[in-house]
């Protein structure tokens, strides 16, 4: 990329990496990204977006059609996996079923020709970090899912590789264990410090674990940035809809202006566009735009101030209590949205159902997208 500083050459670098399968299917379209030492970058996207293929190209398990891959400053594009000095954790752990846990973790060291005594010491150390010292003599089939996960981690860290690759490592665990392992992987990552590329389809996992998150769709990189950047400044409709839970509401709106006052018409409601956003929407005056509203940017009840909030009128069709907050599903007159509006409101609010009520919108947090190509207007 465009930062040739000394540190960056020790990470994982992808330059215009492309993957075409026989038959012409393009799985990955010229992706460039860089994982710095000590950084954990998450590749996230819907299934079939090319994130796993990208990871496998870095590992050397998939040939690169075009472009280059560098690891720790070395060009590895055409090298077999064993010459790349990477470690990988697989979704189904891929443990060697016929070997004990100790042999599983030490296998890579053994293949590297390390003396037995040193292997023993390093396996013991890795097992200690992961809290699996008591399991070292067991076979993988005698382990629970969480324990297998730890063995897979142990196999990766014991080799002290130049890069870590993780392919949906948590998706086979139950919800509680997944949260636990998330925290643990982050701790281990901090401790080891090797650049890590982490693949998941779960945007929550991506947002909580990644130092930076790369969003892929149809083999192309849609946006890369810190979780906050992606949340605050989604580059397009896809990223906006992908990040956040529940997802951003996307409505079609019409722009007009009277002098310097700009408005977005949504159904029979009118929202005032704040001054700082005016420059961005100016080119589309009089046209339709896609208006994005995050569920958490709605206000209702006592917090609603007519002076600062825009008001839309909508009917409550359904509510879901999450305990700490309330998800309110809304339908608006004259709006044919593919999905109902979702608002995330204070849990103490009681909503009247089936009659239109005013709902406040934080006008400072409106998103506008070009309906032609979905890119953000800013």
């Amino acid at each position: 990329m465009d930062r040739p500083d000394a540190a960056s050459t020790n990470g994982i670098v992808l330059e215009c990496v492309r993957k075409e399968f026989p038959g012409g299917v393009v799985a990955v379209r010229d992706i460039s990204l860089e994982v710095h030492p000590g950084e954990l970058v998450v590749l996230v996207g819907p299934s079939g977006c090319g994130k796993t293929t990208t990871l496998r190209m870095v590992a050397g398990l998939e040939a690169v059609t075009a472009g280059e891959v560098r690891i720790a400053g070395r060009l590895v594009t055409s090298l077999p996996p064993r010459h790349r000095n990477v470690a990988m954790v697989f979704q189904n752990y891929a443990l060697y079923a016929h070997m004990s846990v100790r042999a599983n973790i030490g296998f890579g060291l053994k293949m590297a020709g390390m003396p037995k005594r040193e292997i023993r010491a390093r396996v013991d150390q890795a097992a200690d970090i992961l809290g699996i010292t008591t399991l070292l003599d067991r076979k993988p089939r005698q382990l629970s899912g969480g324990q297998r996960q730890r063995v897979a981690m142990g196999r990766a860290i014991v080799r002290e590789p130049a890069a870590f690759l993780m392919d949906e490592p948590l998706s086979n665990l139950d919800a509680k264990l997944r949260l636990e392992m998330r925290a643990e992987i982050i701790t281990i990552h901090r401790r080891i410090g090797a650049p890590t590329l982490y693949v998941t389809h779960d945007q929550t996992e991506a947002m909580t674990m990644g130092d930076r998150v790369a969003i892929l769709r149809d083999g192309a990189l849609e946006q890369i940035g810190t979780p906050l950047e992606l949340y605050e400044q989604p580059a397009n409709v896809f990223v906006a809809g992908f990040i956040g839970s529940p997802a951003m509401n996307l409505l079609s709106a019409t722009l007009d202006n009277s002098g310097d006052d700009w408005f977005a018409h949504v159904g029979d409601s009118r929202l005032v566009i704040p001054p700082k956003a005016r420059a961005a929407v100016r080119p589309l005056a009089g046209h339709d735009v896609i208006l994005g509203l995050r569920p958490e940017d709605f206000v209702s009840g006592e917090h609603l101030r007519a002076s600062e909030h825009g008001i839309i009128y909508a009917t409550v069709t359904r509510t879901e209590s999450l305990g700490s907050e309330l998800l309110v599903y809304l339908s608006m007159n004259d709006i044919t949205a593919s999905q109902p509006l979702v608002a995330r409101l204070d849990r103490r609010i009681t909503m009247q159902r089936d009659t239109p009520i005013p709902i406040g919108v934080d006008l400072e947090r409106l998103y506008f997208f070009d309906p032609k190509n979905g890119t953000a207007l800013s």
Binding site: A59, G60, L61, P80, P81, R82, R84, V86, A87, M88, F90, Q91, N92, Y93, A94, L95, Y96, A97, H98, F107, G108, M111, A112, R155, R159
Partner: protein, 286 residues
């Protein structure tokens, strides 16, 4: 639910019938082998021997000179030699078939090289070639190489006729194995060969056990091929020797049965020990 259904009564009967049907000829064989010729020739027949004797086994395995009983003639030590021939033929053929088919089956399933798919289908297609269409040309080929009446010649024929099917089974087996352990091994520093040797081969253990059982049973019991390709006791397996004990006018059944029971022993042990793996492989085949 409370009333016993007809099916629940039929099943024990059916299971008993299956056991009786499967065991009857073998039990009969054991009883016959312990009989004297007089017992066997009695009218009405004696189902149980009057005086149980191990003589037939002693004749077959011992060195007590020629057996001349009821028209059956056997050279001294010929049976033991035939058992040895069968064992070495089966062992060598099975090892050779396993090596050739495991190596090729894995390569066809996991390694990419030019012409791979064409080559695979050509070899597998030869599995439908019946042995009798090639046996004459094989006979001439082996005769030219001086391999008639040699264990090596038999082994070569078994390898060629069994490899296509064995290779196909191995290929399917490897395709069903999860590829990730092999990939993990490659990342852990293995070459392709090391990953195959240290990780894929151990993954295939159950399949290899089943395949070995199938090959051992079919090679040990094969009759036609060694009938055509052997002529002396130097290479004649037990399956070819036993029919020679059938006399033209009368037959020494105790001797015949004892020979049969001894010939059953090795494949029966293999079948019983590897029974579970055989069933596992069959469930993968359909």
């Amino acid at each position: 639910m409370t009333r016993p259904r007809a099916g629940q009564l039929v099943r024990p009967v059916a299971i008993t019938a299956i056991v009786v049907w499967s065991l009857a000829p073998i039990v009969l064989g054991v009883l016959t082998s312990l009989s004297t010729q007089a017992d066997v020739q009695a009218v009405p027949p004696h189902w149980l021997p009057d005086h149980a004797t191990l003589d037939p086994y002693r004749w077959l395995l011992g060195g007590s000179g020629d057996i001349r009983a009821g028209g059956t003639v056997s050279e001294t030590g010929a049976f033991a030699q035939a058992m040895w021939n069968s064992a070495s033929m089966t062992l060598i053929a099975t090892l050779a078939i396993l090596c050739v088919s495991i190596s090729a089956g894995y390569a066809f399933a996991r390694l990419r090289f030019p012409g791979r798919d064409t080559l695979f289908w050509v070899i597998v297609a030869t599995a439908v070639v019946p042995i009798f269409t090639i046996v004459i040309a094989l006979f001439r080929l082996l005769a030219g190489a001086g391999l008639i009446d040699r264990t090596l010649g038999l082994v070569l024929v078994f390898v060629s006729t069994t490899t296509p099917l064995a290779l196909w089974l191995v290929h399917n087996h490897v395709k069903e194995l999860p590829p990730e352990p092999e990939e993990a091994a490659l990342i852990d520093g293995c070459t392709r060969w090391q990953a195959f040797w240290h990780v894929v081969l151990p993954q295939m253990r159950s399949g290899i056990a089943a395949l070995s059982a199938l090959v051992v049973l079919s090679v040990w019991g094969e009759f036609l091929i060694p009938l055509l390709l052997t002529s002396t006791s130097a290479s004649k397996p037990v399956a070819v020797l036993i029919p020679e004990y059938v006399g033209k006018y009368t037959t020494h059944y105790p001797l015949l049965a004892a020979a049969g029971m001894l010939a059953l022993l090795p494949p029966a042990i293999v079948a019983l020990v590897l029974n579970r793996h055989i069933r596992g492989m069959l469930s993968g085949s359909s």
